[in-house]
Symmetry: C2
Subunit: 341 residues, 2 copies
């Protein structure tokens, strides 16, 4: 109380809520891996802005990447759509929106690095959360995987797993736009119904089929030209022999492996790869970052024209970020998992 009047600056300081990784994940993430921590933010300096998160994303990549990029005690990595609420940087005026790599936090002081302004002509009727999904990183991942890695051509047959997820659902739709036959696998009947709604030619629940091998054969008796891999593990061992000669595989994710405490093992793929002359390539969308502005416009155009539709799985409340993330890793979401602050 004795400082009541003498510290006006202190009073206007903003308190950010943040989620800390207290301990590296072992197996499936648990509540005890996370801690909600309050952080006093300094006043933005010259060139800096103060951001307020509106939507945050949880993505499967955060699980393996936490091990590579984070130390215990760090704020969880991640991207958000945020509003500029205070600005000393003319590039980001107050009231404008950005996509920022801020981590799991409600408020951030940023110097503008790692911030990308939301398209100035973002349509009013399309939620800005799509900048974290179909018209953001997952959409770009789908697009680059198809165009840059697979070189998918009209008339080819594409297999995609985790097909009801943020990436897979866009993969299947773009492949349909390119004139391909699309086979999608997902882990629930509701997801399979979603895939059928999206226009997938074939879709099945890999958890309930008697034989994954037979289901893949039934869905495309001639085999697969391309395979967009989001799952890895035993699924991949069954799918690989069903590729056609000279088949291409884009390795985008391996969600079935992310929570292993000891790495799962499977048969070595060498013989299949040789006799079928398969090409398999791991990738991250950041490789083609220079193409993002044009690619995001294409994705947005498809969305506006209704050629690519979207579905979101929205969790309300910043305090539920760990729950949203843990749910994602066990496949609770259909479409893009988003946290609304």
């Amino acid at each position: 109380m004795e400082n009541g009047d003498c510290c006006p600056k202190q009073r206007t300081m903003v308190q950010a809520k943040t989620w800390i990784l207290t301990k590296h994940f072992e197996g499936l993430p648990k509540n005890s891996n996370f801690e909600l921590k309050l952080e006093q933010l300094p006043e933005p300096k010259d060139g800096e802005v103060l951001l307020e998160a509106i939507f945050l994303t949880v993505d499967p990549y955060m699980r393996p990447l936490s091990r590579v990029r984070m130390n215990e005690g760090d704020v969880m990595i991640g991207t958000q759509v945020a509003k500029v609420i205070q600005s000393n940087n003319p590039t980001f005026p107050v009231g404008s929106h950005v996509v920022g790599r801020c981590g799991w936090r409600t408020h951030t002081v940023s110097n503008g690095t790692d911030l990308i302004p939301i398209m100035h002509d973002w349509p009013q009727d399309i939620p800005m959360s799509l900048a974290l999904g179909t018209v953001g990183m997952p959409g770009l991942t789908a697009l680059y995987g198809i165009e840059e890695v697979l070189g998918l051509k009209a008339g080819e047959t594409l297999l995609v797993n985790a097909a009801a997820g943020a990436v897979g659902s866009v993969v299947g739709q773009i492949a349909k736009l390119k004139g391909c036959k699309v086979v999608g696998c997902a882990g629930s009947d509701a997801k399979v119904a979603f895939l059928k709604d999206l226009g997938f030619d074939e879709a099945f629940n890999y958890k309930s089929v008697t034989s994954l091998d037979q289901a893949l054969k039934d869905a495309s008796p001639d085999g697969y030209d391309c395979y967009f891999e989001n799952v890895g593990g035993p699924f991949s061992s069954v799918a690989l022999p069903q590729m056609k000669n000279f088949g291409r595989i884009a390795v985008c994710g391996g969600i079935s492996l992310y929570n292993d405490t000891t790495p799962q093992t499977g048969p070595y793929p060498h013989l299949t790869m040789i006799f079928k002359q398969l090409k398999m390539e791991g990738f991250m969308q950041s490789r083609w970052e220079h193409k993002n502005p044009e690619s995001l416009r294409r994705l947005m155009a498809w969305v506006k024209e209704g050629k690519v539709t979207y579905r979101e799985h929205i969790t309300e409340g910043f305090e539920n970020m760990p729950a949203a993330f843990m749910g994602l890793l066990v496949g609770e979401n259909i479409g893009k998992a988003i946290v609304k602050v």
Copy 2:
């Protein structure tokens, strides 16, 4: 005796010795998988030639391919250098030499399909057996793996295993010609000495090192741009994480896997492939067959200039083909395994 004079044609007929696959291999091939069988050959008809084998090749691919391409009772698949000893086909005059896909047999009647004449200007001082090795399929495999699959560039570091074999020894030498650093692994100290003689920058005996992981790190602390894979299995699981970002892997063989009765398993490669954005491609040299004439000339030129040297592991006697093949699969050979009839 009563037919003595009446069947002159029968008398001039040639008897071929052949090796039959009596039973599909289970595990390492054994003598009991093979049977030497005599076959009466008919007179060559119009357009046909009679061939006499001079050199036959045994190659690791025969082990897995037997399962895919052969039935029990078939003559073992394979290629030979043969001399035309009777001809009704002007393309193949008597006394000329061919490379023929005749299988394991001393004599063959052929209509010319699957025969390729030996280069008309084959140098006198170079044994024709090289048409089964450095200036034949294994040399082409090395060349296409490097140029078409890996796109190896000067200054890059290449890892090759089974490096003292018919393919690996050429791979390392071509990579040196291209200005690369070459690290080779082989399974005996004598093989390692051979690799050093060939000019490999680093070579080690993977069987005697304390840690394969550490040996690979020591040989190239910065990692590997390219990896020419002849071995597969646990070796590959150790090597993969040592690739540089955007590393390329040409999957040519998997000799450590060919004799599995139940497939060996290893950790799934997906996470490494994603984070390092690796590209892995299985291939067979036949894909670039249209380039063979020019490619064989290049290989021969390197041999004549002494830029690519060769070593052969020659087994005498057609009756020893199974022994030569079984020896190959346990690594008895340094350089190309050849059987001289």
